[in-house]
Amino acid sequence: MKQDSGIRALGERLRTRQIPLGWVIIAVVLILLIIVPFAWKGNPYYVHIVITIFIWGYMATAWGLVGQSGQLSFGHAAFMGIGAYTTGILYSQFGVTPWLGVFPAVGLATLGGVIIGIPTLRLRGVYFALATFAFGFIILMTVKNATYIGPVYIGGGAFLSLPRAGEAPAVFQFESKTPYYFMALAMLAGIVYLSHWFNRSRMGFYWTAIRGDQDAAESLGINAAKYRIRAMLISCALTGLGGAFFMQYFRFFSPQKVLDVSQSIQIALIGIVGGWQSVFGPMIGGFIMVPAAELLRLNLRAFPALSPIIYGIILMLFILFMPKGVNEPFMRGLNWLDRKYWRPSQNANNENNEKVGRQ
């Protein structure tokens, strides 16, 4: 086996099938996604849908970090909304470019995580889920009912919009959708890689141990509260970042759009359909649920209440019959293809096989 890392060596390893099928599929999907905005240049609507998939896949993956440590957040829209409102207000009222505004956005979202996470993640059971729900509700009520917080105008539930600046990279505004597309793709790829990296790190193994059996994990000296709080804070910071991007892309915001309970449930639903304790699951959930939601929305315009009913039924069916989400059968199928057809000769002592299968 050659060890040098040139293109030829890569081709050789691909030809002799030393690269796991999972990585090959990831590479192919990435290349396809890079082609998408150029292939659909005349169809900004499709590009928009793919960007939406990326955004929600990103949110669900960030949400999934809490799931990896064995807890369930019902208020992630609050952190998304904090990120969105912070950058939006900083730009529209104080003229701070979003490139800088994103830092206070992430900071405030993390602060929210500190307020909720540190007291409640020390407790077991359902308190955390309830507290995140309550926190989301407090933030929603505050923003809905207050017109000003100090000198800052927050609209009291009205729609706020960003001033248009045309093609202005300095304030993160572009005429075409392509820059947003690549930004969103980079964010999604980045967060999935980060999630994968965490999952492989020492902390990730702690998370797995804690969600498997907290008593057993603690008996081995793992400080469960500490690692859960870390998962929560990382998740909040990344969700705040996502909210900032959400804001810059849609250019207008209201409590209904970024803070509502239904948005929290949307994030959770995507994560659960994908697989809420896995690395790739929430992203896969985004690729399934966002187009499905869009199709529902287009076809059921006459019955606006019907699509939440269908969401609810999907949620219940997944919890009852496929609690690990589509990720589990997906990974099992991938593993099977890999073993059976891609690398039939070397499955015996190749640890990568197991790695792909375990997620």
Partner: protein, 297 residues
Amino acid sequence: MTEATAITEAIVTGILLGGLYAVIALGLNLIFGIIRVINFAHGSIMVIFMYLGFWLWYLLGIDPYVGMLIVVPIAFGFGYGVQHVFIRPMFMREKSYVVEPLGVLLLMAGFDMVISNSALQAFGARVWYVYGSAFMGTVHVGFLTMSKQRLVVVLVVVLLTVGIHWLLNHTNLGNRIRAVGQNREAAAICGINVHHIYALTFGLGCAVTAVGGCAALPFMPITPFAGMGLALRAFVVVILGGLGSIPGALLAGIIIGVMEIVGAHFTNSSIGSIIVFAIFLVIIVSRPKGLMGTIEV
């Protein structure tokens, strides 16, 4: 009107409002304390039975207080069925030592979406209300004016609290319910049919909620999502009163009601509800088992 009078009135109004919170929290607390399931759909379930009470009144002219006799058994059967069909498989699947499966929380959130939006689809977003039921008018005590219908709710919740307390502590069924709540493995070993008790408890919780819903019907307008705000406060009441503590729910309901109204008196109504949730966070931080709770966390 002096300031002292105004505050006294706010406190009395708060107690009357707290009675409503307490009656919703009672059912929630039964389910929460025994099955250890957070019934996210509790508010929507209440709204469904309020609609039932409303249609009984609207179509057949049955007074909501009398309609309870029809609505409550249906609510009991409904709760029994929900537990038996949806939640039981979750418990069967989980490992025995998992006492609070988080999946059930999500399941009930999904159930909530289904039934509240079904109500929206079926009855529309318009506001329905009952007028002309029994106990109209007000009572005057000194300088205070109280709505009779709200007083009835407080009376109902006190009676229900006493009744459920008696049921849990002085009957054979109550012993079995508490046994299952304390340790379901041990209860099963003693020959108690755990899943039957769970379903009975869930049914009982729904029935209590239906009583509260029907009693509140004469003064509370119904919309498909009216239950959410009430159920959210009921969660706070349950946490404040203590998991599994029936008298705690009554006490906490009244405390929350008074806090909200008095808070709103000094600021405005949205700040009042924010205060309620701030209390919730403070309780979780400082005394997670609640004022009168017995379950250690």
